[in-house]
Symmetry: C2
Subunit: 288 residues, 2 copies
């Protein structure tokens, strides 16, 4: 256990982005710097992680029922096909769906656009006790908004500080943020886009706009670099190598596990006397 615990710790150290020296180009999206060496090994480890995640999440949920305000928010960002959806399926699928809240942020609706960019995000912050997941997030507002010039430069530049304030506020409210950038190579993206186009069951996931975004891969990389570097104040970013799905799943599951272990959620002590209640039920069952 000591060894495993140490490893989870290092996972967070290894993938944590250093805001002072962000160089996404230097990070190999196919790297496996720690942990399992193969898909099979990863499957075994993920299953074990899942059991512990499930237990910890139940404890967190119980803590929330007992009035605790802590919760976890996993933020997933990454280019198309980087595996945000696959991570949700494989990692969040490990825990009780009752305690999970997934929110996906697509192109804003007219109503959403009529408010400030954080309005729709605030509405999806998980309640106490829950494990929330953002499939895309407020970071889109300094990514696609910047790359596609949806807002003037001074506006998206102002957003870094607003995001830092927002996240500091979340932390203040008891939210543990686990922000993962799923780092994929352009070659792997091409392979996955081709796979989507070639499989009739996957064609619905493809949008011709994906190629327009792909054409701007390096502009996105710059936008990601700045977002990760500038918005690591309230909570760190993790850059997860995402060219190998099994490694990506293992890494995100490990990061989530590390966060939950650090929280060490506790089921609340009963606000009643269990002995008294047991006696009531055993000897004076109210059901006649």
């Amino acid at each position: 256990m000591a060894k495993k615990s140490a490893q989870v710790q290092s996972v967070s150290d290894i993938f944590r982005v250093n805001p002072g020296s962000m160089d996404l180009a230097a990070l190999d999206p196919a790297a496996t710097p720690i942990g399992p060496r193969s898909k099979e090994e990863a499957a075994g480890e993920v299953a074990r992680i899942g059991e512990e995640l499930d237990e910890l999440q139940e404890a967190l949920f119980a803590e929330g029922v007992g009035g605790g305000r802590r919760r976890v928010l996993l933020v997933l960002q990454g280019m198309d096909t980087s595996g945000k959806g696959g991570t949700i399926r494989h990692v969040l699928g490990l825990v009780n769906p009752h305690g999970v809240r997934v929110a996906a942020f697509g192109r804003p609706t007219p109503e959403e656009r009529s408010h400030d960019f954080l309005w729709r995000i605030r509405r999806q912050v998980p309640p106490p006790g829950y494990l929330g997941v953002f499939d895309r997030s407020h970071y889109e507002d300094v990514l696609v908004a910047r790359v596609d010039g949806l807002v003037p430069e001074d506006e998206w530049r102002r957003r870094y500080a607003l995001i830092n304030e927002f996240e500091a506020d979340l932390v203040e409210q008891g939210v543990t943020l686990v922000k993962c950038f799923l780092h994929i190579s352009p070659e792997k993206q091409k392979e996955r886009l081709l796979a989507r186009l070639e499989d009739p069951l996957k064609q619905w996931k493809y949008d011709p706009a994906d190629l327009a975004a792909r054409a701007k891969f390096s502009a996105y990389r710059e936008a990601y670099r700045d977002a990760l570097a500038r918005c690591s104040e309230a909570a760190p970013w993790y850059a997860v190598p995402a060219d190998r799905k099994w490694y990506r799943n293992w890494a995100v599951a490990s990061l989530l596990l590390g966060a939950l272990r650090d929280l060490a959620p506790r089921r609340p002590a009963p606000s009643y006397d269990p002995e008294v209640e047991l006696a009531r039920l055993r000897d004076a069952d109210p059901l006649r």
Copy 2:
């Protein structure tokens, strides 16, 4: 496959409540009238059902992405310890959490109480393409509200018609309702309450108010009988024997599968020409 399909069909026939002749007392909560005969057999069947559910749910989600408005809403009702939470864990855990929206309805908050009883419910109706789950629901407003006299009789009586209208409206909007009453015996409830009280890891799930509700078991049974009989207009109720957890899970999974098979969701045809896109990506990759 024909045989399996026929069986799923019968599951819905067997558990469907006949509003004209509702007699909960005549339904054995430990019955296993169809399907697996043992926990082991049920586990195998549930795993197979899970694979098909997962595929169908992805198709439903894809349909929603393509502009379809259909969705499924599983409503779970039942006395304390009847297994609403366990059903969510074991049945909804079979599908991709990305497409699932779970909403739990506890005691209404002051804000919720300031609106009509359907206000908080409407806000949680799953969006198109999603599989929503209600852990308790608008039915609480004709159950606990009636048994505990939270509102005058004429008020809760009026609600049956309002619920029927609300559900007809949902159906009109493309929502398939799968309403399951998890039917548990008072003896099994006692056993499970004792288990909660005896296990420190489960004590947080117990509330002394559970015994007050238990004392009113027969009043609840009457309230359930009326709710199920009066609110089967827009969508049927299913009474699921819930004394055996493995049978309850199998039955709800089967009912959900039947509903999804009936919908036969289809991934949308691509709105683009896959050959054109393949050529663009293969021969004129926009990424330079």
